[in-house]
């Protein structure tokens, strides 16, 4: 099958078949990064612009490496150096970039829906590298790729996602993607960090205790907690958060043997995850990062219309 979308704005918009296609291509792309010459000419002559309105090291670097391994020309624009600081609107920024004839824009933006806004107004492809609390599809895909590598399938997997669901675009993309692929998702967090109707986001169970979600899980995905949330209305202290929703070796034992421990990064060691778990034998956190490059190569490849990879 061919990938028919101009843009990738979120996993909610994709079918299970499309997600599978992206993951299959990513599996193939991963091999390229292991070669001595880590480059194929697939996107030669294409221009990929990374437009980042929020600071990011991991995602931006990963997209840049992915584009370069496909031989695209890349350039990075970050909000701190852009005209946005001077009050330019997103549409003006987008049109100015369009005038320079790019092929793909990879954007991160702090406002949910900013990518929908952009994609409706420009002719080039838009890839969402994170919008507000909405979606982060490349993260969802790389998480699913990592799980699929270990278990061979996503069908029937029990995945616990723990932490601040309300403000998490990583959680939403994983929920949309995983439930479409047949996984069972349990969410855990204090009710102040679980958004209304979360149980209707897919085949999802909501738990108030972390232990309920983790019990018998194949995968535990910890979310980053924003340290600014403590002491306001949502949480009393990080100390208490960590006691109830931090992942320790004792909690890991409640899951299935061989459970995968994941984290999208950057981690708050000692808050949502203890160092022994983060660095322990169940942790696949660095494999997630490795797969991130492959998934992003796949996304860039498919929005460019596919074609031969060699």
């Amino acid at each position: 099958m061919a990938f028919k979308h101009k843009d990738i704005l979120g996993l909610q918009d994709l079918t299970a078949e499309e997600i599978e296609l992206l993951l299959n291509t990513a599996d193939n792309m991963k091999e390229i990064s292991k070669r001595e010459v880590k480059k194929v000419p697939t996107l030669r002559g294409k221009t990929v612009v990374n437009l980042f309105f929020e600071p990011s090291t991991r995602t931006r670097t990963s997209f840049e490496i992915a584009a370069k391994r496909l031989s695209a020309d890349t350039l990075n624009i970050s909000a701190s150096t852009s005209a946005v600081q001077k009050g330019e609107t997103l549409s003006d920024t987008a049109w100015n970039i369009e005038a320079m004839k790019p092929d793909i824009i990879v954007m991160r933006h702090g406002i949910s829906g900013a990518h929908h806004y952009l994609a409706q107004r420009v002719s080039y492809s838009v890839i969402n590298a994170g919008d507000g609390a909405h979606e982060h599809p490349s993260q969802g895909l790389l998480d699913m790729m990592t799980m699929r590598e270990k278990f061979g399938t996503l069908q029937g997997l029990k995945v616990a996602i723990v932490g601040d669901i309300t403000h998490s675009r990583v959680a939403r993309s994983n929920i949309y993607g995983l439930t479409k692929m047949g996984a069972n998702v349990s969410l855990a967090g204090p009710p102040t960090l679980i958004p209304p109707g979360a149980e209707r986001l897919g085949n999802v169970t909501v738990c108030n205790r972390m232990q309920e979600a983790v019990e018998g899980a194949d995968v535990i995905m910890m979310l980053r907690i924003q340290l600014e949330r403590q002491g306001k209305t949502l949480l009393p202290t990080m100390r208490e958060y960590s006691r109830y929703f931090g992942l320790s070796a004792d909690v890991v034992k409640m899951a299935k043997p061989g459970v995968l421990v994941m984290h999208p990064g950057p981690m708050n060691r000692g808050v949502e995850i203890s160092s022994d778990v983060a660095d322990g034998e169940n942790s696949v956190i660095l494999e997630q990062v490795e797969n991130g490059v492959a998934v992003r190569m796949s996304m860039l490849y498919h929005v460019s219309g596919g074609g031969p990879t060699e």
Binding site: I111, S112, G113, H116, G132, H134, T166, R172, P195
Partner: protein, 425 residues
């Protein structure tokens, strides 16, 4: 010059009239209603066969943006939009720039409306100075200058003690008080209704309890102070229930809703449609049903547009950055008429909510076709189908969620003080 409106279905709730009658207008006033009135030679005749003739519609909640925000709307374009929509009177909220918290601004609005406006303009003054919820505004002065009510619309009076005193003081000055019932702490920086749709879109929600808790506070304060209160733009099931219960125990509370609250749900926001962003936000299907029930049983007295023009630069933005509010003057009538088609209201009850009730709540001395009354009249073509097109809207701003939709029903003639100010081609 005399005007004779012949053969229309005349609906005047104040006189409990719903029948085919002719209306004669002399010197800007209703002269007589009757069958087969004769036209003399100097008289202009409107053939109203197949049309509905009602007292001029009154929109008790609009933002004309004049003075200070004329790039969004002004008194000329705003009253032109009103006339096109069938409204002969508009009641304009005080959140202009500067705000209408003193006689000078009120006088300016009235003078400009008189000189250049197409329809009657009744200004609302503020409850508090600068709408800052700190000190009471000079309500006596505002009333003398011509304000028909006070409201800090757009913002609640945040301090409950101040609201209590405002109700007492307004009662003493015999000026109606209109409450924008919103608990800002609960509403926070929310962007749409709190619930599943907001969760899916990753947008921060405004929970229904932000409106209900504030409505309850203000209804209790009205009960405690034995003062009348009017609740603006009711959008939730709970607010309807609170007001229904309060009316049942004799609290002097009235309220309005807007056409979008009985027409659209939060689903209209999907795709991050900034023309579906307003405050209070579009709610759920359950709330829409409760609003209709409230209209049907009389809990909701009036339909007002909350006409809130914004420049495209303020709407054509990422959702979180876009301004709250939509225009409504030119789409209210057909949307209201759907309530008759859906049998929520009969035509007479609907007309009452669009003219008589607002006139009574604000003591405007209009809203009826009784002989001797000012000849403000709307002649409605109920079956006319038309499409909402930005280029054809009279309003300066085009921020409507109904763009591109087909509407049924429109004003054929809008008549203010016996003068035809709008005639549909």
């Amino acid at each position: 010059m005399d005007l004779l409106i012949k053969g229309g279905r005349v609906i005047d709730p104040a006189q409990q009239i719903d029948e085919k009658l002719d209306i004669r207008i002399t010197d800007g006033k209703i002269k007589e209603l009757g069958k087969k009135l004769a036209a003399d030679k100097s008289c202009e005749v409107i053939d109203a066969k197949g049309l509905i003739v009602t007292p001029g519609l009154i929109d008790m909640h609009v933002h004309l943006r004049d003075p200070g925000l004329e790039y969004k709307e002004d008194i000329v374009t705003g009253t032109r939009a009103a006339a096109a929509g069938g409204f002969t009177s508009v009641v304009c909220m005080p959140n202009t720039k500067p705000v209408n918290d003193n006689k000078a601004i009120t006088t300016y609005i009235i003078a400009k409306a008189k000189a250049e406006g197409l329809v009657n303009v009744f200004p609302v003054g503020t409850i508090t100075q600068g709408m800052k919820s700190e000190n009471l505004a000079e309500m006596g002065d505002l009333k003398e200058a011509g304000c028909v009510a006070v409201s800090d619309d757009g913002r609640p009076v945040t301090n409950p003690e101040l609201m209590r005193r405002a109700l007492e003081y307004a009662k003493g000055m015999a000026i109606p008080l209109i409450s924008h019932a919103e608990d800002l702490g609960l509403a926070g920086d929310g962007q749409m209704n709190d619930g599943f749709t907001a969760t899916e879109l990753g947008l921060k929600g405004i929970p229904w309890v932000a409106e209900d808790a504030a409505t309850a506070r203000d209804v209790y304060l009205a009960e405690f102070t034995n003062s009348p209160i009017h609740i603006a733009h009711v959008s939730t099931k709970g607010a309807v229930r609170i007001i229904r219960d309060a009316k049942a125990r004799g609290v002097q509370v009235t309220c309005e809703t807007a056409p979008h609250y009985f027409t659209l749900t939060e689903d209209a926001v999907r795709g991050y449609n900034t023309n579906a962003k307003m405050n209070p936000p579009l709610r759920t299907g359950e709330d829409v049903a409760a609003i209709k029930a409230g209209l049907a049983d009389g809990t909701i007295d009036a339909i007002a547009t909350d006409h809130a023009p914004h420049h495209s630069d303020e709407k054509d933005l990422e959702f979180a950055l876009a301004a709250n509010g939509i225009i409504g003057l030119e789409t209210a009538l057909p949307l209201a008429l759907t309530l008759v088609e859906e049998k929520v209201l009969d035509l007479s009850a609907l007309v009452a909510k669009l003219c008589l009730n607002p006139a009574r709540i604000l003591k405007l001395g209009r809203g009826t076709l009784e002989p001797g009354a000012v000849a403000d009249i709307t002649i409605i073509e109920p079956d006319r189908k038309w499409t909402v097109e930005a280029a054809k809207l009279a309003s300066k701003s085009k921020n409507s969620p109904f763009l591109g939709m087909t509407m049924k029903g429109q004003s054929a003639y809008t008549i203010v003080g016996g003068k035809i100010v709008h005639k549909n081609q």
